[in-house]
Amino acid sequence: MSDNHSTADLKKHIRTYMLVFLALLVGTAITVGLYYVHFESVALTVSIALFVASIKSFLVAGFFMHLISEKKAIYAMLFTTAVFFVSLMFLTIWAMNDYPVIKP
């Protein structure tokens, strides 16, 4: 963040922080609540839980860590990291699930 914040600016920011905080609590409540609902489809449960977690992490990274208004260098760094993380996860999972099956 740039260093020339006026107090009014900061007050606005603080309101945002509080909203994000509430949203995070609500998100947690939703995730836990869904656990007790029990969906038939495992895939659906997993997707919803991870979707909510992603939104929460976006809120934390975006607002608490000020990522929505960061400098280009940081974005480049994190983009690189994201690419490598995804390739680690995706390629490993692909590799472990692609093996020759010998049919009898």
Binding site: V60, K72, I74, F85, L88
Partner: protein, 275 residues
């Protein structure tokens, strides 16, 4: 020559040194936890196919304490808001509020670690027993000892195990509920009938292995972050008088790390407790 950009931002990047440093460090942390998450997925997907002996390898569900986990999540999220408020207070030159919010953050950190310790203790006193007739039960041993196994029984020359099985809901493994119900009435089990006894420790199952590894690593990060913030709260706060801008930067950097730790937990909680 002095090292430039320790406080003020470099023009073309718009960043001061420590900020670049902490983000790079967090990038490597992403890869560290990312690798462990990938391992979690692979172990779990591998377990679902359940080859020999399927029953003991199947992925367990519902063995963690969800209400407490939820509460701990709330504690950690609260600490995130307090740390960002501490930074904002410094930006508004309100040192007293900074002290207050930083103190609250540390309190949250302490709370989180204490609750985690309680949870660990809960697991160390929670057991799985397998009997010769193929029944599998979870429950507690009279007196709640930690880390018992068959060798402990032999060493202590115990002939009958005073075992309190869980109610059916807790042994939520597929197909196991009826067996658990049958034993819900508490009766000592002759040691001769027991083929396997283990607390919920890392070696009991890969689920617990990854659960303890991930949460312990995360807890270490919490402790490390808390130590840094404790420094900034007490002795390090002196810098506010001599070099307020740098002190604010330090709080921001520490805060970035703290938010990351929070962020990791946001994924850990549903993945380990709920799914």
């Amino acid at each position: 020559m002095e090292i430039p950009y320790t406080v003020e931002a470099r023009k073309d990047t718009g960043l001061y040194n420590a900020k670049v440093g902490i983000w790079l460090f967090l990038a490597s942390e992403v890869m560290l936890f990312g690798a462990l998450f990938s391992s979690y997925i692979l172990l779990r997907v591998g377990a679902a196919s359940g080859d020999w002996p399927a029953i003991s390898l199947a992925w367990p569900h519902g063995l963690l304490n969800i209400p407490i986990g939820t509460f701990n999540t709330a504690v950690l999220i609260s600490s995130s808001i307090t740390v960002v408020m501490a930074w904002a207070s410094l930006k508004m030159h309100d040192f007293g509020k900074f002290k207050l919010y930083m103190g609250l953050t540390l309190l949250c950190a302490l709370g989180f670690v204490s609750i985690k310790t309680y949870e660990y203790h809960e697991k160390f006193t929670h057991y799985e027993v397998r009997l010769q007739d193929g029944k599998i039960m979870t429950g507690h041993i009279q007196g709640s000892p930690m880390f018992w196994d068959l060798k402990t029984l032999a060493d202590k020359k115990i002939t009958a195990l005073d075992f309190h099985p869980d109610a059916a809901k807790h042994g939520a493994k597929a197909g196991e509920a009826p067996a658990a119900k049958e034993h819900a009435k508490h009766a000592p089990i002759p040691v001769g009938e027991i083929t396997y006894l283990s607390a919920f420790v890392p070696k009991h199952h890969t689920f617990f292995a990854i659960y303890f590894t991930l949460t312990a690593l995360h807890a270490l990060h919490v402790i490390g972050g808390a130590l840094v913030m404790a420094f900034l709260w007490l002795p390090g706060a002196k810098m506010w008088k001599t070099d307020p801008e740098r002190f604010t930067n330090r709080v921001e950097t520490a805060g970035l790390f703290w938010h990351f730790v929070d962020l990791v937990w946001i994924f850990l909680f549903p993945v380990l407790y709920l799914l």
